[in-house]
């Protein structure tokens, strides 16, 4: 177990493609950190640099107090789970899991003890004699995890380990990974492009975009206090609505949308938003904060009318899509509220959860 520290790390591929553009990240011992971001943002590259599979163009990577820039993967004492598992097809499950220990010349009984223990933990004892080909996707996934666990390494690295599984199994394995980390709290770096996986698993989420880190923080913090427009739009599903707006003074500070709707800014935020009066801004508001109206609203809730375009019942909630001056907007309402296309639906907008983005810098203010 160890901490990992990434300092000003740059990765440039030939042809001057900068996949990672100087990132800094401190991961403490036992922490579960998830790198998340859209495809091609440099997540895998970062992980592979930690593993030593990819050379570092500039900067330093520290594992457990040592610079490992020039240490080959086999001496870094890390374990990695690949997206397509990369199990050795010619070895049995037992041999797959034991391979790393055999190479490190562990005594036979110790190898057997550790493999059995890991197999029990992952519930694959009855598969030990099989070849990977004879396993289902979820079982292969477990074996790949077992191969990582038996080594008892300083750091676990996962590269989109669940993306080859079907939706149901993905949810189940997600829980198991979390359980595994509670049982064996090894420092973990986990890569995914699925923000739900990131939110559910992580102690801290690292949101990457175009080779830079947009924001690092606990899942709840990223959800409630995104730092940039990108993070605001990336975290949360369905995604946050972005509405072009202006701040106006109309008997108190108000947000004026493109279609003329005005909604008051909650009093505690007036000072914070005051300086942005008259600038081009964007109002960020999550679908769950645009809901059906109630008779008595709590303070800070404003009203607007929506001309319903599409209704999507999800069971525990209903998604309603509509437009504000040509911009698509989604809101989440109680499934008991009946509405249909073309109808006018009054909505309650919880301005206590609004976000205001400055268009010039794309930062949340």
């Amino acid at each position: 177990m160890a901490n990992v520290s990434i300092r000003k790390v740059v990765k440039a591929y030939e042809g001057d493609v900068q996949a990672v553009k100087g990132i800094d990240l401190e991961i403490v011992d036992h922490e579960f950190v998830v790198l998340v971001g859209p495809s091609g943002c440099g997540k895998s590259t970062t992980l592979r640099m930690i593993a030593g599979l990819e050379e570092i163009t500039a900067g330093e990577i520290w594992i457990g107090g040592d610079v490992v820039n020039d240490v080959p993967p086999r001496d870094r004492d890390i374990a990695m789970v690949f997206q397509n598992y990369a199990l050795y097809p010619h070895m049995s499950v037992f041999d797959n899991m034991a391979f790393g220990l055999k190479l490190r010349k562990f005594p036979k009984e110790e190898i057997k003890r550790r493999v059995d223990e890991a197999a029990k933990m992952l519930d694959i004892q009855m598969l030990l004699d099989r070849k990977p080909k004879a396993l289902s996707g979820g079982q292969r996934q477990r074996v790949a995890m077992g191969r990582a666990v038996v080594r008892n390494p300083k750091v676990f690295l996962f590269d989109e380990p669940l993306s080859n599984l079907d939706a149901k199994l993905r949810v189940q394995m997600r829980t198991e990974i979390k359980k595994l980390h509670q049982l064996v709290p090894t420092t973990t770096v986990y890569v995914t492009h699925d923000q739900i996986e990131a939110m559910t698993l992580a102690d801290r989420v690292v949101v990457m975009n175009h080779g830079v880190i947009e924001q690092v923080g606990a899942p709840q913090e990223l959800y409630h206090n995104p730092a940039t427009r990108f993070v605001a739009g990336f975290i949360g599903s369905p995604a946050m609505n972005f509405l072009p707006c202006q701040l106006v003074d109309d008997g108190g500070l108000k947000v004026q949308l493109a279609d003329g709707t005005k909604m008051a800014v909650p009093p505690q935020r007036v000072d914070r938003y005051g300086p942005f009066k008259g600038k081009k801004m964007t109002l960020g508001i999550r679908p769950e904060h645009m809901t059906e109206t109630h008779d008595s609203e709590k303070p800070g809730v404003q009203r607007m009318n929506a001309k319903v375009d599409v209704v999507e019942p999800m069971g525990m909630e209903t998604l309603v899509h509509h437009f504000v001056d040509g911009v698509a907007v989604c809101s989440r309402i109680d499934p008991n509220v009946h509405t249909g296309p073309g109808e006018i639906l009054p909505l309650a907008v919880d301005m206590n959860n609004m976000h205001l983005i400055e268009d010039a810098s794309n930062r949340v203010v």
Partner: protein, 313 residues
């Protein structure tokens, strides 16, 4: 081709009326057409391979004048002759040594090729394939000239280094190794190209996983590359053993079996006995000695390959 296209045009109308029946008919017509198209080739194989094989078996059981049936006498006689025992030894020695060396050099070259990335790779691969595409008889003549005791480039080079001439083809063991060397030179590119294809098909992630598991380059070779390539190695070695056992050109041109019949292989010896000395039944008997050896080899290795194919993939 014309046959096939008319069937396709005719099919839809028939299919719309009676789908199952017409599908069956189509299938039957297709297999008939396939048979018709293959027939010339099958006929050719029967004429050139099957018939001569059985004819050879028949010939091998006649006496020298080819009018009396003598059963297995020819085989028994050959086995009892020291000169033929030498041929058996040399054939086995030649084939096994040459195949091992070909496989080894092919493997090394394939690894070199695999690690030369970029545009040069194709050039090098092309150059290394040259021995394989030159007609063997011609290139063996060139080797024969290179091995010449007095005027050859080899001995000239040795002289320049202060070493005395070597009569490459003049003494038993140096002749044996010369013959093997030419066979290896000719056959290694085939192994290289097969192993290169096999190497390229091993997923990079397995090596990455092994690197993380703690394997060094040698351990990756032993625990990943070799097991993953086991099938292709078996098949190429078997195939090459068969071809090398049956080799004719190199020995015929380079040494013609000499010195003192020490480099004769089954094929060249059969030719010498059967055609040059005119004892066709004995020649046929000699060539048939190869058959059980190769058939057994083929059986075992192919069985193993099938089993492994089911496990992997």
């Amino acid at each position: 081709m014309a046959d096939g296209s008319t069937m396709v045009v005719g099919a839809p109308s028939a299919a719309s009326t009676r789908p199952t029946g017409s599908m069956k008919m189509l299938a039957r017509r297709r297999s008939m057409a396939a048979l018709a198209l293959c027939a010339p080739l099958i006929l050719l194989i029967v004429c050139l391979k099957v018939y001569p094989t059985f004819y050879a078996v028949y010939l091998a059981m006649l006496d020298r004048r080819m009018n009396n049936f003598v059963g297995l006498d020819n085989f028994a006689f050959m086995l009892s002759r020291p000169s033929f025992q030498l041929v058996i030894f040399q054939s086995v020695f030649f084939a096994v040594t040459a195949v091992i060396l070909k496989a080894f050099f092919g493997f090394v070259l394939a690894h070199l090729m695999h690690n030369i990335r970029g545009r040069n790779e194709r050039v090098w691969r092309g150059l290394l394939l040259v021995p394989w595409v030159i007609p063997l008889a011609l290139s063996t003549l060139t080797w024969w000239w290179l091995f010449d005791p007095s005027y050859s480039a080899f001995n000239w080079t040795l002289n320049a280094l202060g070493i005395e001439d070597i009569a490459f083809l003049g003494s038993t063991w140096s002749a044996r190794f010369s013959v093997i060397a030419v066979n290896v030179w000719y056959g290694a590119p085939f192994f290289m190209i097969m192993y290169l294809a096999a190497l390229k098909s091993v997923p990079d992630q397995l090596y990455e996983a092994a690197a993380i598991d703690g394997a060094n380059a040698w351990q990756k070779l032993v625990f990943i590359t070799l097991p993953m390539m086991r099938n292709i190695i078996l098949i190429t070695v078997l195939y090459s053993l068969i071809v090398t056992f049956a080799d004719f050109d190199i020995v015929r041109i380079l040494t013609n079996g000499g010195p003192q019949d020490s480099t004769h292989l089954f094929a060249t010896y059969a030719f010498t006995v059967g055609i040059q000395s005119g004892n066709i039944p004995r020649g046929a008997a000699v060539s048939l000695f190869m058959f059980p050896i190769l058939a057994t080899l083929a059986f075992f290795v192919l069985r193993d390959v099938m089993k492994r194919n089911k496990e992997l993939s």
